[in-house]
């Protein structure tokens, strides 16, 4: 077990609390730096998606994990960022102009969406954000002079300070990685400052936050704006990666994927957003595998058990029909969320912490350490 002996307030504030962290994060960076040269283009592209999802995950973590305000509307913020990028690029602006503009514009929209959050709590806020997502989807489909409606918009390669960065190149990979790292550092800075603590305070007790001098309205709107702005930045990267955007890409299912990123990762720390992003990006290829390979595998297995050619074929067809049924993805997502909420409420990062603690305390680990306490005396009436 590691005990950090603090002799200076500087140590409280540091991003890396101990020397070991420099080594582990340094190693991670080294791996990420050489990875695109070693792995194939498919895996590289999957990693880019992990980065983009992780940026959105960080954004949602600020809003949901730290401030405690739910949102199932983040696909809409992603769409606003993506469309701003596409629109401005089509008018000849370079990446270094429309990237920040997309962030700022989405942040302003986020602040506006945050205003109803001052009066809404829990599930009602979720409903409000879902409606917002539907409104944005509808506007994108109808406002044809700007968005080209359901035809969608092409997005050309990034023009970054005169350099062309194509969406499959290693440069684009490093662009996304760099932005992810900057977003994470900015978020960590925020969380060790008064604003970040105000977010946590609002999450845990609005009444106490208010009487400690925290202006709920200001900080909730701030949280929404920051979260939306970061999602907007991710949106521009998403648009470039896809190279084509249309309203039906930014559906409720995408918002749910984003929420899953933090539920699965563990909604209490930034590590969770990254782990969740990796998991979610992996689910898609997994479903494809289920669809393409599993029926054949089961069929040959049943042949091995002597079911006979006809039976095996029937099994294969039946399984194929099940796995290519429409809505399968949503059903699997639902199942995964339920499983995680029931059996791993602290997510993948929570599991990692549990494993770490197990080895640190080796013979003395007890399961109850992470058991959630019931609190009986929270007053709901004063908020």
């Amino acid at each position: 077990m590691r005990f950090i002996f603090k002799t200076d307030y500087e140590q409280d504030i540091k991003l890396f609390q101990h020397g070991g962290a420099w080594w582990s994060y340094g190693l991670l960076f080294a791996v990420l730096a050489v990875a695109p040269y070693l792995i194939g283009s498919y895996l590289q592209s999957q990693l880019v998606f992990v980065f983009i999802y992780a940026i959105v995950g960080v954004a949602l973590m600020i809003l949901v994990g730290f401030t405690g305000q739910g949102s199932i509307g983040h696909a809409a913020f992603l769409a606003i960022g993506a469309y701003t990028a596409a629109f401005l690029q089509a008018r000849g602006y370079p990446f270094e102009v429309y990237f920040p503009v997309a962030g700022i514009l989405t942040g302003v929209v986020g602040a506006i969406v945050g205003i109803p959050a001052l009066r809404l709590h829990g599930i009602y806020l979720l409903i409000a954000t879902i409606s917002f997502a539907f409104i944005v989807e509808e506007v994108l489909a109808r406002w044809e002079s700007v968005t080209h409606g359901n035809e969608g918009m092409r997005v050309r390669a990034v023009e970054f300070f005169g350099q062309t960065v194509s969406r499959d190149s290693n440069s684009f990979y490093f662009l996304c990685l760099g932005i992810l790292v900057l977003v994470i550092i900015g978020t960590l800075n925020l969380m060790r400052s008064p604003t970040g603590r105000a977010f946590i305070a609002i999450r845990d007790s609005e009444t106490a936050a208010k009487s400690m001098g925290i202006d709920l309205a200001k900080y909730k709107v701030r949280s929404f704006a920051i979260s939306a702005a970061i999602t907007g930045l991710a949106g521009t990267l998403y648009a470039h990666k896809m190279s084509f955007i249309s309203p039906e890409m930014f559906t409720l299912l995408l918002s749910i994927e984003f929420i899953m990123v933090i539920i699965i990762g563990g909604a209490f720390g930034l590590h969770g957003a990254i782990l969740g992003a990796i998991f979610i990006v992996m689910v898609d290829p997994l479903i494809t595998m289920l669809k393409d390979d599993l029926p054949g595998m089961v069929a040959s297995l049943s042949r091995g058990f002597g079911v006979g050619e006809e039976g095996a074929r029937a099994v294969q067809d039946r399984l194929y029909a099940i796995f290519s049924a429409p809505g399968l993805k949503g059903a699997i997502y639902g199942l995964i969320i339920i499983m995680f909420v029931l059996f791993e409420p602290m997510g993948l990062y929570g599991r990692w912490l549990k494993i770490k603690l197990y080895f640190q305390l080796f013979p003395l680990y007890k399961k109850a350490t992470f058991r959630r306490q019931k609190t009986y005396v929270k007053s709901e009436r004063n908020r």
Partner: protein, 252 residues
């Protein structure tokens, strides 16, 4: 000169008069206690002073300023801090960050400076920690500095809540039943601390309390409420002898 003046304060929930035309004055540097049976309106008065409830009628004056219309989040920066009867801490944060939230009304850094963690933010963070450390020292919380609230025993949480209120460097502190749920020893500690707060930090204390031995030990003056009305006011001994107070508690 009165420091906090409550003038003809009432709070009605429909036909129920939770607080009914209550007036009192607290001079600077006094420990003033409100007692009364359950439902007498003590916490309601607190909630009105910290502006969580809107008074139906009446006015509140703090340092000769009318604070009846001040929004709740500005109360802290005016120098009024409070604790809650049922402990309202930030459960999933460490003791240190709870106490640092207490410093919130003194933070002046801008959002963009915080995102970039500019040198002024770093300086402010260190200054806040130095202040917090003084309170940690005063209340003997060193051992719990880095602990998460959710894992702390009730008695410690109660002290942390007092510490958080002190971190905002208040001029007036409202303590809502500081000894509820504490054992005899912890109540003893609490009574010493309350006196220290008054004598060393020069903070005026307004508290609601049921434990009469604590009330007798610390308070300068006592106000007794029943059904939202003031029934007696004076020194602890006077109030306890008052026939209406005896009647309210014993039902005679």
């Amino acid at each position: 000169m009165s420091y906090l003046r409550v003038d003809n304060l009432s709070l009605h929930f429909g036909g129920l008069k939770a607080v009914d035309a209550v007036s009192f004055e607290i001079p600077q540097g006094e420990i003033f206690t409100i007692i009364g049976p359950n439902g007498a309106g003590k916490t309601s008065i607190f909630n009105m002073i910290s502006r969580l409830y809107e008074p139906t009628t009446g006015h509140l004056f703090f340092e000769d300023r009318d604070i009846t219309e001040v929004p709740p989040h500005q109360i802290a920066s005016m120098g009024i801090a409070r604790t809650f009867q049922n402990i309202e801490l930030f459960d999933n944060a460490s003791v240190l960050s709870n106490l640092l939230v207490g410093r919130h009304c003194h933070s002046r850094t801008k959002l963009w400076q915080e995102i970039l963690f500019m040198p002024n933010v770093r300086r402010a963070e260190k200054a806040h920690r130095a202040k917090v450390e003084e309170v940690i020292e005063l209340l003997d919380l060193q051992a719990y500095r880095e602990k998460i609230i959710a894992g702390l025993p009730y008695g410690v949480r109660k002290v942390v809540e007092l510490a958080r209120a002190l971190c905002s460097e208040p001029k007036l502190i409202l303590l809502d039943e500081p000894s509820s749920g504490l054992n005899v020893e912890e109540t003893d500690d609490m009574s010493y601390w309350i006196r220290d707060i008054k004598s060393e930090l020069g903070i005026t204390v307004l508290m609601v309390e049921h434990d009469m031995s604590l009330v007798n030990r610390v308070s300068d003056r006592v106000l007794a409420l029943n059904y939202g009305r003031v029934i007696a006011q004076g020194t602890p001994a006077e109030v306890q002898r008052h026939p209406d107070v005896v009647a309210a508690y014993l039902g005679a």
